[in-house]
Symmetry: C2
Amino acid sequence: MASKNKLGIIAGGGCLPGLIAAACRAEGRPAHFLALSGHADPTVISAAGLPTDWIRLGEAGSGFESLRRAGVEEVVMVGPVRRPSLSELAPDFRTARFFARIGLKALGDDGLLRAVVAELESEGFRVVGIDQVLSSCLASPGLYGGPAPDVQAEADIARGIEVARALGAVDVGQAVVVQQGIVLGVEAIEGTDRLLDRCGRLARDGTGGVLVKLKKPGQDRRIDLPAIGTNTVAAAAAAGVRGIAVEADGALVLGREAVAEEARRLGVFVVGVTLS
Amino acid sequence: MASKNKLGIIAGGGCLPGLIAAACRAEGRPAHFLALSGHADPTVISAAGLPTDWIRLGEAGSGFESLRRAGVEEVVMVGPVRRPSLSELAPDFRTARFFARIGLKALGDDGLLRAVVAELESEGFRVVGIDQVLSSCLASPGLYGGPAPDVQAEADIARGIEVARALGAVDVGQAVVVQQGIVLGVEAIEGTDRLLDRCGRLARDGTGGVLVKLKKPGQDRRIDLPAIGTNTVAAAAAAGVRGIAVEADGALVLGREAVAEEARRLGVFVVGVTLS
């Protein structure tokens, strides 16, 4: 984060927008929130103390306007955005023109977000990845904390990688839970916490499973990188999952030290794996 | 079903074992149940009134023995079998030898069932597909009942086929729910009813989604063909799903008339689609 130009943060859900804001403050970089109502968490946004405009997803016109008015040059999109239905969007004129151009199919999965990136760039903004702003959060290879994976865990991780890649290749979810070679669950839009909760109830007796989170093979690094935090470690432990494998250089680990500490405390491994 | 030799029915869950038994009775073919305890439904099994042996999944030795004693030559495996954990299996000597040979990885997904087929054949049984015994249940192309799919439904079906194929190629689930181009959920081992229930809660406003069920691309037709029945139509309607597409010549529609009637009654389309 060498440049000190003003960063526009298009904020979806979770605590990532807050972490980005804190990183900007730490290095004296000016920043401005464009918070998506119904997605961004008002507590996280207000706690960050940045100048903020709230917009609906369908208000691209006023959104671009407020970024420009704030003097933003670079934009980062962070935090999950629940994919909307057309009626939830209720697009303004600018947004309607955008949808007329990209077509409705872009509403599926990452298609919409990819189109938003292209649109921001055509408006003259530079869109950067969260890993360029928060480089310390990009997963590194090796064990973060908890017991080292044994042979069965390694086999379950390998199976999870195989399935997550196949799913990612058709632009669906990023997470899979595997126990003793059996795929307990596959994530679509429900989110990792619900996936873990469901798999906890489907788990077999004996050795617990693993959660695998990967970037999709063709995924633009600037949108929606898979992320885990201390909450993910806690949810895994509650579901009887004994470890989490994330893609090194492809997923975000939010708070390296805190995640490692929670992993040790709960006896759940967290490991960064390099894909071959 | 030309041959009148005795059919061994290895019975998992649901009502399929009962349908097979009824089909045998209708044409005077002798049959014998090998019912898997913890998987087969005792009500379905006893209502069928066939000679029955109950075994645990881990008791292959006594299972083969009772089929042979009953004079069975042909075997069909029907109804879902929840994949077991090793400790649930508690294998007998014969079964332990089997696992020692196929290795633990076969416990994943269809691997186990494929190995069971091979094992039955090496013991001299002929393993046939349910579609050979219940040919009237194999899905045919075209509309069974309910309103014809519109353009959005056709697009959702196409997306569902794309995702289900990718998932099937790595030997995971057979069902996907898509709404307005968005993949709401993907089935692993939870079963279609739970998938539908979850997707009902994740659905967006506006036009409802579709359920797509396909045979896995490399799937042995003799194991675990995807199936729908009137209960699937009712579960779809309850989840706000407006139609079901099944693979023509690859999925089972249990009770053609009853399914068509339920589809009309609830206004949910059921259609057999031919994969290109």
